[in-house]
């Protein structure tokens, strides 16, 4: 599978990554070579094989519905780039 410029731009947009014009060909080449490595698996017959999502055959544990967290706003917002009145600020969200 070989990716072109528009594929890279589409993926970069989906992943919200700013990729410069100059970087696009480099990514197209390296990702295409990774995909051709990956495409080796296409020849393998996997019919009837159950997909494995998790290595251990374990089951979800459930948590009791009890409040365990107190208000830690100040501490948790110490790393925030922009805060006002306890809110995280972002460029205007248009609905």
């Amino acid at each position: 599978m070989s990716l072109d410029k528009s594929d890279i731009e589409r993926i970069a947009h989906l992943a919200r990554l700013d990729i410069s014009e100059q970087e696009v060909p480099e990514y197209a080449t390296s990702i295409s070579s990774i995909l051709s490595l990956i495409d080796q698996m296409q020849a393998t017959d996997t019919d009837g094989v159950l997909p494995l999502a998790h290595p251990l055959d374990a089951v979800q544990r459930l948590r009791k519905d009890e409040v365990s967290e107190s208000n830690q706003r100040e501490r948790l917002q110490q790393n925030a780039p922009a805060i006002e009145d306890g809110l995280f600020l972002v460029p205007r969200v248009i609905e």
């Binding site: 990716l3 594929d7 890279i8 993926i11 970069a12 947009h13 989906l14 992943a15 919200r16 990554l17 700013d18 990729i19 970087e23 990514y27 390296s30 990702i31 070579s33 990774i34 995909l35 490595l37 990956i38 495409d39 080796q40 698996m41 296409q42 393998t44 996997t46 094989v49 159950l50 997909p51 494995l52 999502a53 998790h54 290595p55 251990l56 374990a58 979800q60 544990r61 948590r63 830690q72 501490r75 948790l76 917002q77 110490q78 790393n79 925030a80 780039p81 922009a82 995280f88 972002v90 460029p91 205007r92 969200v93």
Partner: protein, 483 residues
């Protein structure tokens, strides 16, 4: 002092030969004096380390001694440490001070360990050479023109250079074992779920597993004893009893059945490594082990499956780095999309962006079945290969890496060549099995790692085997020239 293992240091502290404050200060001085050659630390936590050491000394006087009381260690910089920078080797988190401790950090603190600092790593644990770190590459103490391996390269180099007796690491495709092999130290990747992932910044959730990186198997057992166990905060942590790992170190290996997968001794393996691994196997035979050839027929599918599944999980796991609540935010974003794209575009390095894009592509509409689902099916086939073999033998042994440490820059421009570095290690992450790398010789003057692979939750067995080998040989005691 710097050549003593964690276990030996524990004895010396108990005997009162020196205090934890003295020990800690000595290591801090050594790091400051030598680490400019290796770049193995991102953050040195001198003040808090000395406080922890002082507290450990005081508690010891009162008779309160934990398994790791007063012993200096360092954490790979993807474990959240309250009050310390947790960067993941990325510009994205260069300004991130974690408000909380990872469960593993909390457990080690409770046991009395002293955190000297945070070690360098490939950005977001994506890499096999430690060249993708925002903080610059780490250099291998055996030859500073060479890489230490990755992604836990800082931890491996720091232990090899005797800058710290033990470190934590994490292993998603070989990130503990491969640098341990390249730096001549002991590294253990436990069974998936053995150690809590809570507070370990995620790369690929169903692969990531923390583990100890030490100078000996005995030390690894000591560290694992503290690190392992169920964590209610991690749904995927295993509800399995934690055995006394040190109790079985001296069990006899007579009758041990070792399988050698023929696919791991095929083309591409450095002859020096092949020779050293064979020599190690003979050592086990002398101890009474039986060796047979086995087959893991789907080995060549490991890299394709891994490089779909791990990047797919990563592409989603790394979406939270968006410049809104923490981490890097671009200058004056004009709108929301600009905020996202530039914060992420500028905050992530090229290998991270590449894997995010590969993962995004694999999950995108129309490709899911051909890539993601197919890779999950292959994942099961690979797991089945191992389970079948492990019915027949107790452990599997193989080289950890196909080559010894390579030169800085040698593979950096070719991601596919770099990915091949993990060819012997990432199969275990696909299967979730435990594996260890221990030093077993040298090739071209560089350390060689022997990989020991066991069944689920067989860490005690692996540590026993490694310890017996280290009693019979002294490869693990070799140190880089001049250290």
């Amino acid at each position: 002092m710097f050549n003593l293992t964690l276990t030996e240091l524990a004895t010396r502290l108990a005997q009162g030969d020196f205090s934890s404050v003295e020990l800690t200060q000595a290591y801090l001085d050594r790091i400051q004096a030598l680490d400019s050659q290796y770049n193995s630390f991102i953050t040195l936590a001198a003040d808090s380390a000395l406080e922890q050491a002082k507290l450990a000394d005081e508690l010891r006087k009162k008779g309160q001694v934990g398994l790791l009381s007063g012993l200096p260690i360092a954490h790979k910089d993807l474990f959240c440490t309250a009050g310390l920078k947790t960067s993941c080797g990325s510009k994205m988190l260069d300004n991130f001070i974690s408000p909380y401790n990872a469960t593993l950090v909390e457990r080690l603190n409770q046991a009395g360990a002293v955190t000297l600092g945070k070690t360098n790593m490939d950005e977001f644990a994506m890499g096999s050479s430690n060249e993708s770190s925002y903080y610059g590459p780490v250099r291998n103490p055996w030859d500073t023109d060479r890489v230490p391996g990755g992604s836990s390269g800082g931890s491996a180099a720091a232990v090899a250079a005797r800058l710290v007796p033990a470190c934590t690491g994490s292993d998603t495709g070989g990130s503990i074992r491969q640098p341990a092999a390249l730096c001549g130290i002991t590294g253990l990747k436990p069974t998936y779920g053995r150690i809590s992932r809570y507070g370990m910044v995620a790369y690929a959730s169903s692969f990531d597993q923390a583990g100890p990186m030490t100078r000996s198997a005995e030390d690894a057992a000591l560290m694992l004893q503290v690190m392992a166990g169920l964590d209610p905060l991690d749904s995927t942590s295993a509800d399995q009893p934690v055995p006394d790992y040190r109790a079985h170190l001296n069990d006899s290996l007579a009758g041990l059945k070792i399988g050698l997968p023929k696919e791991y001794f095929a083309e591409g393996l450095d002859p020096g490594i092949a020779q050293q691994v064979q020599a190690a196997i003979q050592e086990f035979e002398r101890m009474g082990a039986q060796v047979k050839e086995v087959s893991l027929p789907n080995t060549e599918l490991c890299i394709p499956a891994y490089y779909i599944l791990a990047p797919a999980e990563a592409s989603s796991n790394l979406s939270r780095f968006d410049g809104v609540r923490y981490g890097y935010r671009c200058e004056s974003p004009v709108d929301l999309e600009d905020l996202y794209k530039r914060s992420r575009g500028e905050g992530f390095g090229s290998e991270v962006k590449r894997r995010i894009m590969v993962g995004t592509y694999a999950l995108s509409e129309g490709f899911y079945d051909a890539y993601y689902r197919k890779a999950q099916q292959i994942r099961r086939m690979i797991q089945q290969d191992f389970l079948t073999v492990l019915k027949d033998v107790d452990v599997i042994m193989a080289p950890t890496t196909p080559q010894p440490a390579f030169k800085l820059g040698e593979k950096n421009s070719d991601p596919v060549a770099m990915y091949m570095e993990d060819i012997y290690t990432l199969s275990l992450n696909l299967a979730g099995l435990p594996g260890m790398s221990i030093p077993c010789g040298q090739s071209q003057g560089l350390p060689v790692g022997l990989q020991i692979i066991g069944s689920y939750f067989s860490e005690a067995k692996l540590l026993n085997i490694a310890h017996q080998f280290q009693l019979a040989t002294d490869w693990h005691q070799q140190s880089p020239a001049g250290l």
